[in-house]
């Protein structure tokens, strides 16, 4: 919470500087696909195609740079994450209709869309992790100039964990630091999803 407040302060400090400019607020909202390969059996890899949505809200620092907060929804095999973080966009603005741009998003994903599943004998839950998402794309201004559409490709590295524990029934005399108390076995899957991300979106 403190961190968020701190970030909001930074945002407002940007606002002060840029208030005089014509365009102040920056919004980029994207929809797209993230494509990766996951090993699901001993033989080899299975392709996965997942859905990705993200909206970045912030401010223009000047004509070339914009920055802000982002929040999104990413699906992965078996679960859905909610990335929250900071984003930057740099535009190679030469005053033409098509502009090349680059972006960098950083942050951590929340698992608030996943519930902890508890039965009499088991408990399973997810844990979100850090993500990194560099991208490049093309911005195409609309004729009226109020908004522009964007097409981008990028790479997304997303960390996440899945835990599944079998509960210990009754009291066990035997304790060990590698197993959380109350469980007789725990399976942990640590994921690093490496995705190729293809997105379409709008910038206001």
């Amino acid at each position: 919470m403190k961190k968020i407040l701190f970030l909001i302060l930074i945002l407002f400090s940007f606002l002060g500087k840029t208030y005089s400019q014509e365009k102040t607020f920056f919004n980029q909202t994207d929809l797209g696909l993230s494509i990766g390969q996951v090993k699901t059996d001993f033989e080899g890899y299975t392709e996965r195609v997942n859905f990705s949505f993200q909206t970045l809200n912030g401010v223009w620092i000047n004509k070339y740079h914009a920055t802000g907060f982002l929040v999104g929804v990413d699906t992965y095999p078996n679960f859905t994450l909610m990335p929250i973080g900071l984003g930057w966009r740099g535009f190679l603005d030469k005053g033409k209709r098509h502009t090349l741009f680059a972006g960098m998003d950083l942050g951590a994903a929340s698992t608030m869309l996943e519930k902890k599943v508890e039965t009499e004998w088991t408990e399973s839950w997810y844990e979100g992790g850090l993500f990194l998402n560099p991208s490049i794309g093309i911005r195409r201004n609309s004729k009226k100039g109020k908004h522009s559409s964007v097409l981008s490709i990028g790479y997304k590295r997303q960390e996440a964990n899945f835990y599944e524990g079998s509960k210990e029934i009754g009291f066990s005399s035997f304790r060990d630091a590698s197993i959380p108390p109350g469980f007789i076995s725990v399976r942990k899957e640590e994921y690093v999803f490496n995705s190729f991300v293809l997105k379409w979106g709008l910038i206001f």
Binding site: P77, S172, I184, Y191, F196
Partner: protein, 425 residues
């Protein structure tokens, strides 16, 4: 200004592009580290001859690590540390028990005291200690090979014990691949492995002897049988006989020349008027469940719970009419949370509800026990209860606590002996 920044951004873009190539190209698939960590136990073979050679050492009092069975004798409290030995505490003031010493007995599970002689099992042997002076304890007898079921090979004198451990296995696969959407059906596989580990980790597969003394005889039950020892000559217990009981024997409770034996499948009643030759009177059967039992003249109180070893069980308190011990009748069953041990003191029944706490009831009217719940101490996690002469002793995962129960409806905490590493449940 404009002319200056453009080339800079151009350079930046190229850098970003190069960086992306660097990141994307070598790692075009997901990395999965699948770690399965589970508690299990592995067999350790011991030569009984080596065990017998080693001295039984009396050590200075030490901290409780994992309390097992508890026994009160006079002003002393005996707390067993499963497979390790017995703590002896001076409990003349229940508000502040004092640790005196620790008898290091490998393979010890249960104990009983008879006229200043302490009986304790040492794997397959039964040991007797003179405890007339607890500060100078002497071993006076070793009765060999009385718990024979622990032998893996009787001829070579090899016994089998289990040591707890944590194992980890790894793979790089994403389990339960559920396609692109939805949570998978993971559970079956992990569970099987889990319960397999669980089946061994408590040492219950070994010999969990349970001792009780009555009419000059020591009765010990293990998983399958009742063993009778003549202890009329206290320091020289004599093994008399072995009575097969069937399977899943758990507890033994003596009352008025009868033995009430709780098992996974029911309650056995034995007539012990001839102490050396107990005779079966009845067997009351119920669902598979874990079940300790206590009795008074007319009724038996049996708790059934489901647990690691009795997963199909129910959680209830059953009241049986045992006025005719040859024909016990179920009077009523009351729903409980996860009842473990229980203690009966006059008209008051105390039930250890496992991690849920400790309950007390007035049981004068056995048909309305649920309406006569007195207290429910939710923070007092408990597994067993002994109504002692000076205090109610409650054993839980966090330690051994004592309560003043002179006013049965209000338990007054006296003291708690904390264990070294309490389980956080």
């Amino acid at each position: 200004m404009k002319n200056k920044s453009n080339p800079t951004i151009g350079k930046n873009l190229h850098l970003v592009l190069a960086f992306m190539m660097f990141l994307v190209l070598p790692s075009c698939h997901d990395e999965v580290t699948n770690t399965y960590t589970y508690k299990t136990s592995y067999p350790v073979y011991l030569e009984m001859s080596t065990v017998r050679q080693a001295d039984i050492i009396i050590e200075p009092g030490k901290e409780l690590d994992n309390p097992g069975k508890i026994y009160i004798y006079g002003d002393y409290l005996f707390i067993n540390e499963p497979q390790k030995g017995i703590h002896i505490l001076d409990n003349s003031n229940p508000a502040s028990p004092k640790n005196i010493n620790f008898i290091n007995i490998p393979g010890n599970v249960d104990l009983a005291v008879n006229s200043e002689i302490l009986y304790a099992d040492n794997y397959v042997d039964l040991l007797s200690f003179d405890i007339s002076d607890v500060r100078s304890i002497k071993m006076v007898d070793r009765e060999e090979d009385v718990f024979k079921n622990m032998y893996s090979n009787f001829d070579t004198g090899q016994i089998i014990t289990w040591k707890d451990t944590v194992l980890t296995s790894e793979s790089d696969m994403m389990w339960g691949w559920g396609g692109w959407w939805g949570r998978p059906e993971f559970l079956a596989m992990a569970n099987d492995a889990g319960s397999k580990g669980g089946g061994q980790s408590y040492g219950q597969g070994g010999s969990m002897a349970r001792f009780t003394l009555m009419s000059g005889h020591l009765y010990a039950v293990d998983e399958y049988s009742l063993r009778v020892f003549d202890v009329n000559k206290e320091d020289e217990p004599v093994f008399i006989k072995n009575i097969d009981l069937g399977w899943g024997i758990e507890t033994i409770f003596p009352f008025q020349e009868k033995l009430f034996i709780g098992s996974n499948t029911g309650m056995h009643i034995y007539d012990a008027r001839v102490p050396s030759d107990p005779k079966k009177m009845a067997e009351y059967s119920h669902f598979t469940a874990c079940d300790p039992v206590v009795v008074n003249e007319d009724y038996a109180f049996v708790t059934l719970r489901n647990g690691q070893f009795c997963r199909q069980g129910v959680n209830e308190l059953q009241v049986l009419d045992i006025k005719d011990p040859y024909n016990p009748k179920l009077l009523k069953a009351y729903e409980m949370l996860n009842p473990h041990g229980l203690g009966l003191a006059g008209d008051f029944l105390y039930i250890a509800e496992g991690e849920h706490g400790l309950k007390s009831f007035k049981v004068a009217d056995v048909m309305n026990i649920d309406k006569n719940q007195l207290e429910f101490l939710k923070s007092m996690k408990s597994v067993d209860i002994i109504p002692g002469p000076k205090s109610l002793i409650v054993i839980g995962p966090d330690g051994v606590c004592q309560f003043d129960y002179s006013t049965p409806s209000v338990l007054k905490p006296l003291s708690c002996i904390q264990v070294k590493n309490p389980v956080i449940v």
